[in-house]
């Protein structure tokens, strides 16, 4: 099963990369941009999707400083599992 893990700086933690991008965009003529954050995308094929959360907690993200969300684009939408999961922590 293909999965994607989106990792971003945790709310409230200063993200200087996001700030730098946010400042660069107006300089190029793009206005109306706010709250820019730069994170990481990890794509992976995984046999047991139930392990994804543990993978995130243990290695892919550092929950102390990062939020993550797990996306499974191939997954058939289930009533209780529609779309990407909400950010953890």
């Amino acid at each position: 099963m293909r999965a994607r893990v989106l990792i971003r700086p945790k709310e409230g933690i200063l993200d200087p990369q996001g700030v730098a991008v946010e400042r660069a965009l107006p300089a190029l003529g793009f206005s109306g941009v706010a709250n820019v954050h730069v994170g990481r995308l990890v794509e992976l094929d995984v046999e047991d999707v139930s392990q994804l959360e543990a993978m995130c907690e243990k290695l892919l993200a550092n929950p102390l400083i990062e939020d993550y969300s797990i996306e499974r684009p191939d997954a058939a939408p289930q009533p209780q599992d529609a779309g990407p999961e909400a950010p953890r922590r």
Binding site: I13, L14, P16, Q17, A20, R40, L59, L60, N62, L64, I65
Partner: protein, 213 residues
């Protein structure tokens, strides 16, 4: 007194750390893939870019075979010092609280600076005087310490000279027991008058004589 200095793929300060340790005792390299610590009395996790800093600084090194042994050694009370990337690894390993984030300025910084000794009761500050300023170089891109709450501060950047946006000017911390210490500046590069300061030796001298718990 025998120090073990860990070498990961991508370490670059392990030889300086080894030579610095040899000024106060014996020292040997510990290879990352070998879980045997060889009966050393203290462990130094040195600076560099372990595993290329891939994913997140220190994130992959933390799971190397040698680190499993270092974690057990630290939990038994063994003295462990993490310098720069080593500090990042010890935080990822959960031996020290907090995490290291990219510098506020996003630049790699490299400069000689003063750090103030805040806590003289740790395994690596026992030989320091309270509030003593140590002249030690810092060189890093991810040295912004994020404190998860109250932490045991070992060192602060002195004279309002916080170079990276670290919480509360924290340059280094200790675990609750005081046997594990990590800091971003490099004491192993301040052990010879040739490079301007020998203040870094105080950290290593502090560990000499500490028996394994």
């Amino acid at each position: 007194m025998r120090f073990g200095v860990v070498r990961f793929p991508g370490s670059c300060d392990e030889v300086d750390a080894l030579e610095a340790c040899r000024r106060v005792g014996d020292a040997e390299i510990l290879w990352h893939a070998d879980p045997d610590l060889g009966g050393v009395d203290a462990v130094v996790v040195p600076g560099g870019f372990s595993y290329g800093d891939y994913l997140r600084v220190g994130a992959i090194a933390r799971f190397s075979p040698v680190m499993e042994s270092v974690i057990a050694f630290a939990r038994e009370g063994g003295p462990v010092l993490g310098i720069c990337n080593g500090f990042q690894v010890l935080c990822e390993a959960g031996l020290l609280p907090g995490a290291l984030l990219p510098n506020v300025g996003l630049r790699f910084l490299c400069r000689q600076l003063d750090i103030e000794v805040v806590d003289t009761d740790t395994a690596f500050t026992r030989a320091c005087a309270p509030a003593e300023a140590l002249s030690i170089p810092a060189k890093h891109q991810a040295g912004r310490y994020h404190a998860p709450g109250d932490v045991r501060v070992a060192f602060r950047y002195a004279h309002d000279g916080n170079p990276n946006g670290s919480s509360n000017d924290i340059a280094g911390v200790a675990n609750e027991a005081g046997n594990v210490v990590g800091l971003m500046p490099h004491p192993e590069h301040a052990v010879d008058e040739l490079t301007g300061s020998t203040d870094g030796l105080a950290l290593l001298r502090s560990a000499v004589g500490l028996a394994r718990a």
